[in-house]
C-alpha cells in the first residue's frame, strides 16, 4: 500500500464525487430544491470498483441495491437463446441504470460495465425510505426513469428504421448530448468505449458490418471512431446523417 494512502478517506471522496455526478445530472432535467439536494447528499453509498466488461447485475437476478455510476461506462443488454446479444442502452457517470429494480424485483436484462467503473450502490431500503419522506425526490426519480424509457423508444426507432450509418451517427450524437450535460466533452472529441463487436450489438448488425460502417463514415469525412473515441470531422454532415432531435432527452425541467 502506498505511503499516505487512507482507504477510508478514498472511500469518502469517491462517495462525494458520485453524489455530485447524480445531482448535476438530475438538475438538468428537474428543478430540485436545496433541501432535496441535501437528502441526496446524505444517501449512504457503498463504493465498489469493477473491471471492464464485468456483470453488475444479471438477467434473472434479484437486486437489493441500485447502482449509480461514478466513473466509467456501462451498458444494458439482453441475450437471446442463440447467444446473440442486443445492447439496449449505454450509461455514463451520474446515471442509475438499474433504478427500475427498486420496483421490478427480478432483472429482465443484464447490466454490465463496458470500461473499468467506479460504482456506488444504494440499498433499495434507503431509496424507499427517501421516497416516502421526500415525495419530490420520488417524482424526480420517476421523471428520470421516464426519460430512460423515452431513450428506449428512440433506440427502437433507430434500430428498426434507420440505415446503419445513420443509426451509428444517432447513437453517437445522443451519447455526446448526454456527456455534454455532465461536462465530459473534450472539444469535438468524446468517449464511446465500444468495440466493433459492441457497436454491432448496439446497432443490430454484425461486427463485420459495424467495421464497414465505421470505415465508411471515416472515409466520407463525417466522423471517426477510433479506440473508443469519437472525433467529429464534419459537424453539418454528421447532424444531417443522424436525423437527431434532442427533444426526447428532455434536458430541461420545462421540456
Amino acid at each position: 500500500m502506498p505511503r499516505g494512502f487512507n482507504p477510508q478517506r478514498e472511500y469518502e471522496v469517491a462517495g462525494d464525487a458520485i453524489r455530485a455526478a447524480l445531482i448535476k445530472r438530475l438538475r438538468i432535467s428537474s428543478a430540485i430544491a436545496d433541501d432535496d439536494v441535501k437528502e441526496i447528499e446524505a444517501l449512504p453509498i457503498v463504493v465498489r470498483h469493477f473491471p471492464a466488461e464485468t456483470a453488475v447485475v444479471r438477467d434473472g437476478e434479484r437486486a437489493t441495491d441500485c447502482c449509480l455510476i461514478a466513473d466509467g461506462f456501462c451498458a444494458r443488454s439482453k441475450t437471446i437463446a442463440n447467444g446473440k446479444r442486443q445492447i439496449l442502452s449505454i450509461h455514463i457517470p451520474g446515471e442509475i441504470p438499474d433504478l427500475m429494480s427498486l420496483f421490478l424485483h427480478v432483472m429482465d436484462h443484464d447490466l454490465a460495465t463496458l470500461t473499468a467503473c467506479t460504482l456506488g450502490f444504494i440499498s433499495h431500503e434507503t431509496l424507499q425510505r427517501l421516497h416516502r419522506r421526500r415525495p419530490v425526490v420520488a417524482e424526480m426519480f420517476w421523471r428520470d426513469t421516464l426519460i430512460d424509457s423515452a431513450m428506449f423508444r428512440e433506440w427502437i426507432v433507430n434500430v428498426g428504421q434507420r440505415p446503419a450509418p445513420a443509426r451509428l451517427a444517432h447513437v453517437m450524437i445522443e451519447l455526446r448530448e448526454r456527456l455534454r450535460i455532465i461536462g465530459r466533452l473534450d472539444g469535438n472529441n468524446f468517449e464511446m468505449p465500444l468495440t466493433q463487436e459492441q457497436v454491432g450489438e448496439a446497432l443490430g448488425i454484425t461486427a463485420v458490418h459495424a467495421n464497414r460502417v465505421i470505415k465508411q463514415l471515416r472515409q466520407e469525412g463525417i466522423v471517426d471512431l477510433h479506440r473508443g473515441r469519437v472525433t467529429v470531422l464534419d459537424e453539418r454532415k454528421f447532424l444531417e446523417l443522424a436525423d437527431f432531435d434532442n427533444r426526447y432527452l428532455h434536458q430541461s425541467p420545462t421540456l
Binding site: 446503419a164 448488425i205 454484425t206 461486427a207 463485420v208 458490418h209 467495421n211 464497414r212 470505415k215
Partner: protein, 76 residues
C-alpha cells in the same frame, strides 16, 4: 482460432478488410459472412445504393468462401 478477412464488394467498389477477425471455426465465419451480406444488402437495396453485394472471405490469406446477394425485381 483462425483469422478471417471479410472483403466487401458493393456496386463494383471493393473494401478490403485489413484487420480481420478471429472465429472459433469456419462455420462461425460462414454465419458471419451470410449475416453481414444480408445486413449490408438490406441497407443497399432499400436506399438504392447498390443491387449486388459480395462478401469475399479469406482465411489466413487464402480464399475461403464468397457470399453473393443480388436484388432482382421483376415487374409484371
Amino acid at each position: 482460432m483462425p483469422r478471417f478477412h471479410f472483403d466487401i464488394l458493393e456496386n463494383g467498389h471493393l473494401t478490403q478488410d485489413e484487420d480481420g477477425r478471429d472465429f472459433a471455426d469456419g462455420n462461425a465465419a460462414r454465419k458471419e459472412a451470410v449475416l453481414t451480406g444480408a445486413s449490408i444488402a438490406r441497407d443497399a437495396f432499400t436506399t438504392g445504393s447498390s443491387h449486388r453485394i459480395v462478401v469475399d472471405v479469406r482465411e489466413e490469406g487464402a480464399p475461403f468462401l464468397k457470399v453473393s446477394i443480388t436484388l432482382e425485381v421483376e415487374e409484371a
